[in-house]
């Protein structure tokens, strides 16, 4: 899975927008949205929010956690804990990435937010590196990966699982196909 696909999945998350138009409920296959009342917040999937914002049909309300104070707190916790902490959103990095790219004007202190997010990402990446080391060193056949977000899992894919596959194969013989030609001699 590449980043574009991870982003695609994260785009299903809901975000609040304040539309500048009126419209009744729209019955999408993935669920109903609206009604839209100019000036009143309403939740829509991120893919739609991005499109409406690009066409200047709405303003985006930053998710509750997307502010300097909350993120500083998240960062502090992440630094203090040995294990991964639970992120405020399952797709925190992608959501921030997307919303900051089109709606920087709707999100106060967006440059600072970018910096803190980068810090959080880096702290978690370095934790991930030691987890990976540990998994390899102990030859783990199973690892628990709670609180890792999809994009973070993706950052070790395909190298870690593929390398472990090879390790397993070296340890347990040559895999399903003993591809060395048949030994039986038939005439």
């Amino acid at each position: 899975m590449n980043s574009a696909e991870t982003e695609f999945i994260a785009e299903k998350e809901l975000v609040s927008i304040v539309p500048n138009f009126n419209y009744e409920v729209i019955y999408l296959i993935s669920g109903d949205i609206g009604p839209f009342r100019a000036g009143l917040p309403v939740k829509v999937p991120i893919w739609l929010a991005m499109s409406l914002k690009r066409r200047q049909k709405c303003r985006i309300v930053p998710p509750r956690w997307m502010n300097v104070e909350d993120l500083e707190e998240v960062k502090k916790q992440e630094l203090n804990e040995r294990f991964f902490t639970k992120m405020p959103s399952e797709h925190y990095m992608v959501e921030a990435h997307l919303l900051l790219s089109v709606a920087a004007d709707d999100i106060p202190r967006c440059e600072q937010i970018r910096t803190i997010l980068k810090d959080i990402w880096d702290i978690r990446m370095s934790k991930l590196r030691s987890s990976v080391d540990q998994i390899i060193k102990t030859n783990a056949i199973h690892a628990r990966l709670d609180h890792l977000t999809l994009m973070e899992i993706n950052s070790i894919r395909p190298l870690l699982p593929h390398a472990l596959d090879q390790l397993f194969r070296l340890q347990n013989g040559r895999g399903p196909s003993q591809a060395s030609g048949s030994q039986a001699f038939t005439q």
Binding site: M1, F8, F21, Y23, E24, V25, I26, Y27, L28, I29, S30, G31, W47, L48, S51, K57, I135, I141, H142, A143, R144, L145, D146, H147, L148, L150, I153, R157, L160, P161, H162, L164, D165, F168, R169, N172, G175, P176, S177, G181, S182, T186, Q187
Partner: protein, 218 residues
């Protein structure tokens, strides 16, 4: 104007089961991710796929009829594009596996009951023709010019199989208890995967739980 475009929100997948269209879409998306990450071909989801196509074409027809400047038109079209992408990626991933593991998949499927098959009827036809096509090619260019004792195409020797001993990432949709994974021995405590917890494990040890929906590959 009716915003629902006259589509029913509920569909019948079988005689005794009605689900919302939204649920069908979720099932499709989960099946897509499972298929993407599983090393082997998973059971086909023809009911789900066909149902989604009904929805798409119904929606497309209705969209033709309304004023194209209506804001809904674009919104619905964007959503249809997203769904079409999932369908396409899902079926493409399956097709790639079918091509690569053709002989193995046909062989496995022939041991299953007709309503338990992993290949859809369309895929089955494709797989058989694909297999014929390549075996004929071998035959034509090489095998028939070879000495008699090695002239036969030996499916058992030559078939390409998926490596089920591959590591996958997964999330428990509901709690799974008493798991004994590949490589664990009698001294190890059986493992519990609590609902919503995430893991990395060998696919072979969890395949049946992926297929019955307890675990979701991520």
């Amino acid at each position: 104007m009716d915003s629902s475009f006259g589509l029913d929100n509920e569909v019948a997948l079988s005689d005794d089961e009605t689900v919302t269209v939204q649920q069908v879409l979720e099932t499709l998306e989960n099946a897509w991710l499972n298929e993407k990450f599983s090393p082997e071909l998973l059971p086909h989801q023809t009911d789900i796929v066909d149902c989604m196509f009904e929805q798409i074409s119904g929606m497309e027809e209705n969209l033709e009829k309304v004023d194209q400047s209506d804001i809904r038109v674009e919104i619905h079209r964007m959503e249809l594009d997203r769904i079409r992408y999932v369908l396409s990626s899902f079926l493409r991933t399956r097709l790639e596996k079918i091509e690569e593991f053709c002989t193995h998949i046909i062989e496995e499927d022939s041991t299953r009951d007709p309503d338990e098959r992993y290949l859809s009827p369309g895929e089955k036809k494709f797989a058989e023709e694909f297999q014929n096509n390549i075996e004929q090619h071998f035959e034509r260019v090489a095998l028939r010019h070879m000495p008699l004792n090695v002239q036969k195409y030996d499916r058992q020797l030559m078939k390409v199989e998926p490596n089920l001993k591959s590591y996958v990432f997964l999330r428990a949709r509901s709690t799974a208890e008493g798991l004994m994974l590949e490589g664990m021995d009698d001294t190890d405590e059986p493992l519990t995967m609590v609902k919503d917890s995430q893991h990395m494990a060998l696919y072979s040890g969890v395949a049946s739980l992926v297929k019955n929906g307890t675990l979701q590959l991520i």
